[in-house]
Structure formats: structure tokens, C-alpha cells
């Protein structure tokens, strides 16, 4: 019996390395440069993360990874948040590698996992479509069986890093009846004929694309998990990934808190630092409170996933709260900064615009509260 809410020594060491590495490699001007392009990340940086072993942490040794624990990813995601590191890690490692491990065939594992671990394979998640729903109800893209293949038609939106992806992890409808789940997951080679990509202008300056499939032929061996029943394994992986995304929100909040607290101490109005005014003290301490709560919840969820316990309830709570906290704490930070952070050159803007992405990526708070309601048997 024990209550110990701290990461272990190894994880703390990883956290320090990640802090030092990201701090050096991703200063704000680099993050802004990446925003200006369409690639969305630093290919050299991706290779460096592979060399550090951070792409294969949760991939078993048999597939070229290091067979570490889920919790080992927590500190890395927290630090990616602190420095706003743009990277396809969440889609590729947290979602694709996990889905393939859980639902993939031996051949799929051997083909993709070692390539992910060594940094030569990027996978992008393609779920959301024109009605904006994250989940089976919003999936209209069809995959019609033909011979041993599938023929895919439709358009996926908000697909990250699509111009660099080797595969698209694509949720498609293989069952005509929309009342039934009927969703399958295909690992679509990104260079298949009939795929076109259009960059989508978006609030966070992320490399998000609309990807259109026009009679794209995908070999049957690329079906991931059961036909018409692919959603549960994908959903499990996206939920786990959303817990890590909460760690990213926590890390970003730490940076936002440091920035805001310092500003409240330095900025003087009416003859006094504004941080002396209790109205401002409330705003700054809101950020600390939000991030502390999100951190506790996300660590609990990550711990339960790691320990092989039931985690649906705890994960949904952590994710839903983290998304609400992301919205709230960035608003409070702007209230404190007022005019100065309305100017785009202020680094707070980098955080607050990304908060809107985190609020929505992999489903919004409401989606996870519905998951929570189900877990509570409401």
C-alpha cells in the first residue's frame, strides 16, 4: 500500500534531459519558423529524438524499441508542452504504434514498429471529417472491399504532418449501416495513387491538412484490427494519447505560469507591481491551481494505464479537465498581460493559440465527459 505521486528517479532524469534538450533546440524563434512552413516539425529534431530513444520508449525490444513504460512518456510530453515542441510524436508513437501493438498482425508490427522507433516512419491520424465529430458517428469516408483490397473515398480534415507522413492511420466506414459501428482502421500508404493534400489554415499554426481519397486502393493486408470493428482499439490508443496530451497542457501551463507570474511582479501601474493587487493575484494563482489539478489527474490516469488497471474513468476525467483547464488558464494569463500579449510577437500567444488545438484534438471535453458518463454507468 502506498501513495506516491512522484515520478521515479529514471523518469525524473528523462525529464531533466528533455528539459535541457528542448530548451536548447526549440527556442521560441524556432517554433515560429516551423509555424511559417508547411512541414510542421524539424526533421533533424525528429532524428535526434530517435537517437535519444524517445520514439521507441513504449515499443517492445523485439520491434526495435526499448520496452519502457507508458509513464516514461509522461515527462517527455510535459517538456514538449513547456517548449511547444512541434512533433508528430503523439500521432506516430502514442497512437499509431500503440494501435499496431494492440491490434496489428505480426507482419504489420514488424513492418512499422522498428521504422517508427528508428525515426524513419511517420504516421498521421486521420479521423475527423467535415462534421467535426471525433468518433464513429462522424466517419463517412468509405472503404469498399474489392478483391482482396479496399477502395477508399472521402475527405479527412485536420490531419497533422500529412505532407511528411509515410502512413495515414485512417478510420473508415466499411459497413453501410450508419447505426452500426461499422468502422475499420486502415494503415494507408501516404504515397498511394489518388491521395491529395491541402494545407488548412489554423489557429495554432500547426501543419494540418485536408486529405482527400479518390478511389485509393489499399491492400487488404493494411487492415488494422477487425473489419467493421476497428474503432475500440483505435479509441483506446487515442484515449491514452489524450492523457499524454494532458501532460503537454500541464507543461505548457508551467511555462505560462512562470511568464505570467514574472510579468505580474515586474509590471508597475498605479505606483505598484500589478501582482500586489488581489484581482491580479487571483488570476495568476488560477493558473497554478489549474495546472496542479490537471497534473494530479493526468498522473493518476497515466499511472493506472501503466499499472494495467482499469483507467477509462480516470483517463476521461483527466482529459476532460485538462482541456477545460487549457482554455481557462490561458485566458487568465492574457488578462494579466493585457495589451502586451495581444501583440503577436509576445510568446504567450504561441501558447494560447495552441491551447485551442489541445482543447479539440482527439475529441473535446464534452466527448470525454460522455466517455466518463459511460464509465460511471450514468
Amino acid at each position: 500500500m502506498a501513495i506516491d505521486l512522484t515520478l521515479d528517479d529514471h523518469q525524473l532524469l528523462v525529464q531533466r534531459s528533455a528539459f535541457e534538450y528542448f530548451q536548447k533546440r526549440y527556442p521560441p524563434y524556432v517554433v515560429r519558423d516551423i509555424e511559417d512552413g508547411h512541414v510542421g516539425y524539424l526533421p533533424d529534431g525528429w532524428q535526434e529524438m530517435a537517437a535519444l530513444g524517445w520514439l521507441g520508449i513504449t515499443i517492445p525490444e523485439a520491434y526495435g524499441g526499448t520496452g519502457g513504460s507508458f509513464l516514461d512518456l509522461y515527462p517527455i510530453y510535459e517538456e514538449m508542452g513547456r517548449f511547444l515542441v512541434p512533433s508528430p510524436h503523439l500521432d506516430t508513437v502514442a497512437i499509431a504504434a500503440n494501435t499496431i501493438l494492440a491490434a496489428g498482425t505480426e507482419a504489420q508490427r514488424e513492418r512499422v514498429l522498428p521504422a517508427i522507433a528508428d525515426g524513419t516512419c511517420i504516421v498521421s491520424l486521420a479521423v475527423v471529417e467535415r462534421d467535426g465529430t471525433f468518433g464513429p458517428a462522424g466517419i463517412a469516408c468509405t472503404a469498399r472491399p474489392r478483391g482482396g483490397d479496399f477502395v477508399v473515398n472521402g475527405t479527412k480534415l485536420l490531419v497533422g504532418y500529412a505532407s511528411s507522413a509515410d502512413f495515414l492511420l485512417c478510420a473508415v466506414r466499411t459497413e453501410g449501416d450508419p447505426e452500426r459501428d461499422g468502422v475499420s482502421v486502415l494503415l494507408v500508404p501516404a504515397d498511394a495513387a489518388g491521395i491529395s493534400r491541402t494545407p488548412i489554415p489554423n489557429i495554432a499554426g500547426n501543419a494540418l491538412y485536408a486529405v482527400t481519397f479518390d478511389d485509393v486502393v489499399v491492400p487488404g493486408e493494411n487492415l488494422l484490427g477487425p473489419q467493421d470493428g476497428g474503432w475500440p482499439a483505435l479509441s483506446e490508443a487515442t484515449t491514452r494519447a489524450a492523457v499524454l496530451q494532458t501532460a503537454t497542457i500541464v507543461g505548457a501551463a508551467r511555462a505560462v505560469l512562470d511568464m505570467t507570474n514574472q510579468y505580474a511582479k515586474d509590471r508597475e501601474q498605479f505606483g505598484s507591481p500589478i501582482g500586489r493587487y488581489q484581482a491580479v493575484q487571483y488570476l495568476v494563482s488560477d493558473i497554478l491551481i489549474d495546472l496542479h489539478r490537471a497534473d494530479l489527474l493526468a498522473k493518476q490516469a497515466a499511472y493506472r494505464i501503466d499499472a494495467g488497471k482499469d483507467y477509462e474513468r480516470e483517463a476521461a476525467i483527466a482529459i476532460a479537465f485538462g482541456k477545460k483547464a487549457a482554455a481557462h488558464l490561458h485566458r487568465q494569463a492574457h488578462e494579466v498581460h493585457a495589451g502586451v500579449a495581444f501583440i503577436v510577437e509576445h510568446d504567450l500567444t504561441l501558447f494560447s493559440l495552441r491551447a485551442k488545438y489541445w482543447e479539440n484534438n482527439l475529441g473535446d471535453a464534452r466527448y470525454y465527459q460522455e466517455q466518463l458518463a459511460a464509465a460511471m454507468r450514468i
Partner: protein, 396 residues
């Protein structure tokens, strides 16, 4: 990281013993008693006897040394006892003994320990709080009650207020100024222990919003022998209020080889209320829709679940002994939110306090009214100021 609760055959035997005792001694109609929020004479009569029987089993202070009426239980054993009492929603001993007891253990003289601890563990001594004054609430260090030495006694004059359930308690702990220099604020305060029926103590009732009775306490020439000062002269603020200094409190190791087996805690407190509310929503129709299928109610219930989960994690974190003021700020602010959200789910029927039409037998009404007593121990605004200045280093 680890968040797990484990038990052993020996602990489970203890659990069964406590459970069987409670089944025998605590009839259902006496569940959910809260000493600070009720005045029902029948329930008070029951609990005065119940606490004595609990004390006789050494389960009021199971972790205390045997010489003071405890059972020298390890923290795990004491936890099992507490879990079972919480599971039955048994009322805890009236008064602020949970604060006074550890303070006497740390700071008390041997004579004070012998005089008070066994009586507390036996359910016979209940402590009223004599800190707050009409002009000293959040700013407690400005208190004006004065104690002046007269031979081997102290003579105390002043006024205290909001003394919760003071009329049920038989002892009071009083904070008084012992340095004549008023400007010394927290550096001139000492703490005194006095029987409630002393000449020089007079109570007048203040009925509160949540069915409890608080009291004005008039101290008029109250004479307290010098051996009833707790802690050192003028050091009371640091020693008693902030709990600093003195001897470490003894703890006892268990000799329990296991094997350990994991178990899930049963919901208590707000989590228990939320469970009740979920059951209510699953069984109640409004406007032709089951409440549990109403999209808004589902969001309200899950909002509550998120808040309750945070409270649980804060408790766990408190058990690891870091956090402090941040905890109390968060918890303070959630309590009224919890109460308000619960009433929103119940809708208009939530106003009904008792009788067949009262949802959840009026529990939410009581929680709502109690939430206005959220200032006890310091307002949330004061807690926030402490977070801002201590945790974040913002200027005062």
C-alpha cells in the same frame, strides 16, 4: 508512482470486528451525524453514549499510546478503523479535539497529557474553539482577549465568537494576548485550557444557516491556573496555530507479515453524495426524460465527478505531506461549487427539506446550506492570498 491500497488477512480481521461492532451499536437512523451542524436532542443523546462506547474499544484514537487511551495501532490499522466508521457515516467526536489532541501530544506537559488525553480518547472531553473574536476573524493575530498574570493564575478577559457547538463541549481552548504590547500581534499570544463551566465563561447562542448552534463566548475574569497554559508563553501562534515545535508524536509500527492484497476504497463524503445523486438521476424522470439521459444533466454529473476526483487526489497528495495552502484553497473553492451544482441537478424539488417529496431525504439541501459555512478555518480569499504571496512570491 504508486496509488494503491492493500490489505492483509490481519487487517481484514480487524475490519470485520469493527464492522460487526458498528452493526450492533449504530442503528441506521443515527447515520450521517455532524456535530457542528445539528441540534437534534435525541441524536446528541445517542452520540454522547456512542462516543464513550467507541472510546472503550479504543477506537476514538486508535493510533495513540495505550497509556493515553489509544490502541497503539499502526497507521494502516487506524485507517481500517476510520474507513469502517466512515462507511457507516458515523458521527465523529464533537469539538476540535482532532486539533487539540495532537497539539497536547506534542507540546503538553506530562501532567497535561495525563489530565486530558485519556479523557479525550474515552469520549468524555470535547473541546470548544476559543480563537475567533468579533473583530478578529481572518486577521486572527489582531485578537484582543487579554490574559494577565495574578500569582500562579492567569486572569482572562475578552470576547470570543462563532464558537461552534460550544454549549455541547466541556472544555475550551482560548487564544489570548499575554504580552501587554498590542503591536506585537502574533508574537504576544498564548493558549489556555479551561473547563466550560468555569466561573467567568458565559455563552450566548448564535444559530447558523445549517442547523448548527454557534456561540458568543464572554470571558469575564476567568481564572486559569498557570499549568493550564498550552505551549510556551507568547509562542502560541507558532506552536499551536501553525503546529510548530514540541516533541514528535509517537507512531506505532505494525507487525503484520501480510500477504498484501489490493482493494478499492468505498466512496465517502462528496463521492458518496455523488453516487446517491447518480442513482437518483437514473431513477427519476423530468419532463418525460430520465434525468440520467438528459444531455445537460450528464454534463453536470460528470463535472461533479471531475471535481470530486480532484478532491480525492488532493487528499492522497496530502497523505504524502506536501502541498499545504494550495490544497486548502482548491478544496475551499470546490465546496460551494459542488453544493450549487447538486442543487441545479435537483431543480425546484431540491428546496424541499424533508418528507416524502424531498429528493435524497433533504441531503442536498443540507449540503447547500452548510456550504455557506465554508469560511471556517479561513476564507477562500485568505487562502488565495496565501497561495499568491507564499507559493508564487507575489508582493504583499
Amino acid at each position: 508512482m504508486d496509488i494503491s491500497f492493500t490489505t492483509t488477512p490481519k487487517l481484514e480481521a480487524l475490519r470485520r470486528e469493527v464492522r460487526a461492532w458498528l452493526a450492533e451499536e449504530l442503528p441506521q437512523q443515527f447515520e450521517g451525524f455532524q456535530w457542528d451542524f445539528e441540534e437534534d436532542p435525541e441524536r446528541w443523546r445517542f452520540y454522547r453514549e456512542f462516543w464513550k462506547r467507541q472510546g472503550a474499544k479504543r477506537w476514538l484514537e486508535p493510533a495513540w499510546p495505550r497509556e493515553f487511551g489509544g490502541a497503539e495501532m499502526s497507521p494502516r490499522e487506524a485507517r481500517v478503523v476510520r474507513e469502517e466508521f466512515e462507511r457507516r457515516r458515523a458521527g465523529g467526536l464533537a469539538g476540535i479535539g482532532m486539533l487539540v489532541g495532537p497539539t497536547i501530544l506534542r507540546l503538553g506537559t506530562d501532567e497535561q497529557k495525563a489530565a486530558f488525553l485519556p479523557g479525550m480518547a474515552a469520549g468524555e472531553i470535547m473541546w470548544a474553539e476559543g480563537y475567533t473574536e468579533p473583530d478578529s476573524g481572518s486577521d486572527l493575530a489582531s485578537l484582543r482577549t487579554r490574559a494577565v498574570r495574578d500569582g500562579d493564575e492567569w486572569v482572562i478577559d475578552g470576547q470570543k465568537t462563532f464558537c461552534t457547538a460550544g454549549h455541547h463541549c466541556n472544555w475550551i481552548i482560548i487564544a489570548a494576548r499575554t504580552d501587554p504590547d498590542d503591536t506585537k500581534r502574533h508574537k504576544g499570544i498564548s493558549y489556555f485550557l479551561a473547563p466550560m463551566d468555569s466561573h467567568g465563561i458565559e455563552l450566548r447562542p448564535l444559530l447558523n444557516l445549517a442547523d448548527g448552534r454557534q456561540n458568543l463566548v464572554f470571558l469575564d475574569g476567568l481564572r486559569v491556573p498557570e499549568n493550564r497554559m498550552l505551549g510556551d508563553l507568547n509562542q502560541g501562534w507558532q506552536q499551536v496555530w501553525f503546529g510548530l515545535g514540541g516533541q514528535p508524536i509517537p507512531t506505532f509500527e505494525s507487525n503484520d507479515p501480510g500477504p498484501d492484497e489490493e482493494y478499492e476504497l468505498e466512496p465517502t463524503g462528496q463521492a458518496w453524495v455523488l453516487d446517491q445523486l447518480v442513482q437518483y438521476c437514473r431513477a427519476t424522470t423530468r419532463g418525460g426524460t430520465l434525468l440520467s439521459e438528459d444531455a445537460v444533466v450528464r454534463m453536470q454529473l460528470t463535472d461533479l465527478a471531475i471535481g470530486v476526483e480532484i478532491e480525492k487526489m488532493l487528499q492522497y497528495e496530502g497523505a504524502c505531506a506536501y502541498g499545504g495552502h494550495l490544497h486548502s484553497a482548491i478544496t475551499k473553492e470546490f465546496q460551494p461549487e459542488f453544493a450549487q451544482r447538486c442543487t441545479e441537478i435537483l431543480g425546484p424539488l431540491g428546496q424541499i427539506q424533508s418528507g416524502v417529496w424531498a429528493p435524497l431525504a433533504g441531503e442536498i439541501d443540507r449540503i447547500y446550506r452548510r456550504s455557506f459555512g465554508n469560511h471556517a478555518g479561513g476564507t477562500s480569499q485568505v487562502k488565495r492570498m496565501v497561495v499568491a504571496t507564499r507559493s508564487l512570491g507575489l508582493p504583499r
